[in-house]
Symmetry: D2
Subunit: 339 residues, 4 copies
Amino acid sequence: MIRVGIVGYGYWGPNLVRNFSESPRFKVASISDLSSARRAAAEKQYPMAKVVADCKDVLADPSVDAVAISTPVSTHFEIARAAIEAGKHVLLEKPMTREVGEAQRLVDLAAKHKTTLMVDHTFVYLGAVRKMKELADAGELGELLYYDSVRINLGLFQHDVNVIWDLAPHDLSILDYLVAEKPVAVQATGTKHVAGRPESMAYVTLRYESSFLAHLHINWLAPVKIRQTLLGGTKKMIVYDDLAIAEKIKVYDRGVDVEPSPDVAYQLRVGYRSGDMWSPKIDQSEALKVEVAHFADCVEHGKTPVTDGEAGLRVVRVLAATSKSISERGRVIRLGEDD
Amino acid sequence: MIRVGIVGYGYWGPNLVRNFSESPRFKVASISDLSSARRAAAEKQYPMAKVVADCKDVLADPSVDAVAISTPVSTHFEIARAAIEAGKHVLLEKPMTREVGEAQRLVDLAAKHKTTLMVDHTFVYLGAVRKMKELADAGELGELLYYDSVRINLGLFQHDVNVIWDLAPHDLSILDYLVAEKPVAVQATGTKHVAGRPESMAYVTLRYESSFLAHLHINWLAPVKIRQTLLGGTKKMIVYDDLAIAEKIKVYDRGVDVEPSPDVAYQLRVGYRSGDMWSPKIDQSEALKVEVAHFADCVEHGKTPVTDGEAGLRVVRVLAATSKSISERGRVIRLGEDD
Amino acid sequence: MIRVGIVGYGYWGPNLVRNFSESPRFKVASISDLSSARRAAAEKQYPMAKVVADCKDVLADPSVDAVAISTPVSTHFEIARAAIEAGKHVLLEKPMTREVGEAQRLVDLAAKHKTTLMVDHTFVYLGAVRKMKELADAGELGELLYYDSVRINLGLFQHDVNVIWDLAPHDLSILDYLVAEKPVAVQATGTKHVAGRPESMAYVTLRYESSFLAHLHINWLAPVKIRQTLLGGTKKMIVYDDLAIAEKIKVYDRGVDVEPSPDVAYQLRVGYRSGDMWSPKIDQSEALKVEVAHFADCVEHGKTPVTDGEAGLRVVRVLAATSKSISERGRVIRLGEDD
Amino acid sequence: MIRVGIVGYGYWGPNLVRNFSESPRFKVASISDLSSARRAAAEKQYPMAKVVADCKDVLADPSVDAVAISTPVSTHFEIARAAIEAGKHVLLEKPMTREVGEAQRLVDLAAKHKTTLMVDHTFVYLGAVRKMKELADAGELGELLYYDSVRINLGLFQHDVNVIWDLAPHDLSILDYLVAEKPVAVQATGTKHVAGRPESMAYVTLRYESSFLAHLHINWLAPVKIRQTLLGGTKKMIVYDDLAIAEKIKVYDRGVDVEPSPDVAYQLRVGYRSGDMWSPKIDQSEALKVEVAHFADCVEHGKTPVTDGEAGLRVVRVLAATSKSISERGRVIRLGEDD
């Protein structure tokens, strides 16, 4: 039984606590939150856990084996650093940190202290996303050509981060998981619909050494809610609609066939293929439940998490590049240019 | 009765001839096409028209008042120039020309010869697009914030033009029609899915002096067909789905309300508005029928076409900038930079 | 503060308890369930409530003002009768009883004992249904012509009741609420997809004195989930899609216009009207929350519930007639024929 | 080359003429229509065909091998009878006749004169319907359980026939084609939304010896257009949406599994199966083109048409029973009861 402390009981924290408490492999030892109202809620719901204001009381408790951190991103680095230095295994909310340097330091620290550092890229543990990974890895899609995601709705304007830091981590973590090749350059365009606020709408393009291309449209000010991703391959293409009640994943046997033309020398014939569509059954488990079980595996058996610190760092590197691109009016930013 | 000659009887030409022949204001005098098979088809369908191989025979015919040109884009400039110099009124297929300079010369020539020069931006004459224009002009949407269009399907790979020159003229002409402000810079990213062929998928961003933003996703290699446009305003937002059987236009009373916060000095409160949705009845007339009637008005009464040569030129200028941006790996191109 | 006891903590009971406990007007005094596992769950979640096995301990408690009953339908009559005779106000799960006679006796008993008898027709308290009622009552739809509902999915086969008794109470209660006119005859057709089990699919037709017509398709063995209702009127028509994420209610300005024909004596001209569509904003409150507040109003102020015992009786009368119709191979059953 | 005459050039006739004229196996010899305007249209479009007012001139022409009849249903019997007696092969518009006796006489006459009698049940020749037949015949669906069709929209009110005779032939012919078992009883309910006009909305139920059940909802006064059919089987179930742009047919691996329960003697365990969905590619050919080719096969090689006179007769028998059921206020009518 792993004894876990949860730091932060705001929007996401209650989901973490619920999943840890329902897991047979964890015992929720303590919960911390700065708000007395939230502490009261935690105490009422989980009378067996120790509920405290200061996260230091969680981190200093020697009986706590692991810490899950779901606080504002600006506090991630300090809390995670302290937790790792106290020898705790860490599950850290996304985005991992505000800066590339911070993320890199956490990765290094965790290696040094031999603790598990896992980033809470929840979407990676969704049945639909795991099914896409399974199909892509099995070669069903052929060579991957593009990833296109639209993630828009009438959303809550954030004060402290722009729409990219708010919504793009979902797609960037999915992309990092699905595609072995990593991006080499990033370009972003955003606009502010309320003066003085962060960007509320943005387009992000990721370029790769190969001709693979990834693109995100993220928007807090859209009339309709859309969560749709296209994953194009040379053999098959997937449409993933996260809002679909049924058939979230559709696999299309469609594409382009290129073959040497018999009649024209040195010329290729480009043909079309439009065949069946197939919608596989998807595991309906709650993503966080799957993730919590994976965290237990990593903590108990020293496995490397699928969404480890390196994955979190790669996502932060892209996010930082989008901010740079926007501030330089759309310049293409090479990744690693000036981390 | 305006006597019209149609040059080019390939994919689009028959639609032009049909609409001109059904209009009480036109008489189809002649049709030209280089292919004998197409000439045979034209002769069978329109026994009263003179069908010829060489377009010069159409242009040289003094009884012809107007010429509609629907040939490959590479031939537009020469044929249109000859037609204008022969004093004909011209309806020219989109995109107007391959180059900005050519488009500019046609505009100048038409002014000099006092003939009507209209570009066949068909979508501008669709009921749905005219309804969006009507709502925007009436102030229903408030200040316009963004235009976002997805125009993708498993489409025919073209040999001579890339996916932007093939599909973007639709959105660029709609945008030019709907939005009074004109773009100042363009950025494009594209990728080739078949080596040695033109780009088959691209993203185009148009920037404006204001915070208005326009963006297109165009793709010949998508698993599903999508023709969806979002037009965001401060008061209301529109979703235009060109594939919807009913309710092509949906107007959402949704947006963000910004007001001075009573309790916090110097701070604005950002609130959300999510009200009714309304789908107005749309005029179902064939766009080309409306366009042909407008062409008659312009020819007969000397009106300036809604989609005049200047509009065609503006679209070509953006297209040319996308090609430059792609060739320079995504650099932001100022419009007019080096026309 | 009304002290309420909940009898039955199975599928629906926990929703009742949660809503009563969140209401400022109720205090959950006691909960009863025959299952020790369910009692343990209730105790853990609601440590302040008295949790007992025998519902008699709830009914006999003089401090309990009201009782909510969510037990199997076969037990409804006995428990509700005892509760009313003990002077309790009663909220009774649907369908109210297995037989018309039982429902009638409960109505009579409640009148005699001057207690509130309310039937838990939850759908009547949904924002979408209340909006339909509001539009119909305001005359927006004109004269009502028909109600057509499809309520199908791959559902749980019940052992004790057929698909009509399981699913039709939803529509029959909506219908009873929306339409002032009451049905005079019922016809039903059903079929069993598993031998020896109750009907798993059925069609129910309700006839009225006027030309109004109501029809239900209910099915446990459908490949897709559909919850769609059409409400047709002479002026406007509504499509209500309960599964729609947004725009659950769409109001269509469509219909038929009948007017005396000027040229043909004694003949009417029938024309079509196809205008705008409008989707009003819907109150998103949980139906049960609205219902619980209404129950408090009725208990405290002696109001007659919208879904009172008479409404529950009318629904049971139709259900009983469908069973009779099926057993007589589709014979049309007059309501009241042999209650 | 089969010389064909077309009788009736109204709504459907031009589609027949176009398909016959595009077929290499037919020559359109003559066309008749009572309206001079329609004759003028036919002459303009098909200058090589003889266009006449009186259908007798078509039937009396010895050079005509086959006749296609698309006139009002009230005239079908007389024209078809005359054609068969003149030794012509006949393609007859649906519904075949107004009465069962008429249909039977045409079947007998065609047998006697050894001519092909084919009924124009167009939907049977659609790619989507042929794919359903192929899947059902291959046993993919298991044992068929039900057919449920919704065919509604804001349609044209007919003067002479009710909504059942107008729309139900589509479904009845599909059903007759797909399902080997034939119905034994019919029940129908309809209502008139305009006084003095035929029924504008109806529900039709078909019962079979087995537990298979078929049901139609047909409606001229619906706010939205729906053309959706469910075909349920013990192994798999199909949803056929005729309005879908892509994926008209979806095959769901869903159903109920019944197996002997190991722990309870004499009791069956009912389980659910919810697996993949699959949407096969559909032949996009125009149904009428496929039908015309099949008619040629039958005429030239003496084959029995898939939609022969017997199929047409079975459809008329059901239609007649619906009229009887409506006139007797929903009584269940045994087929063959009093033909």
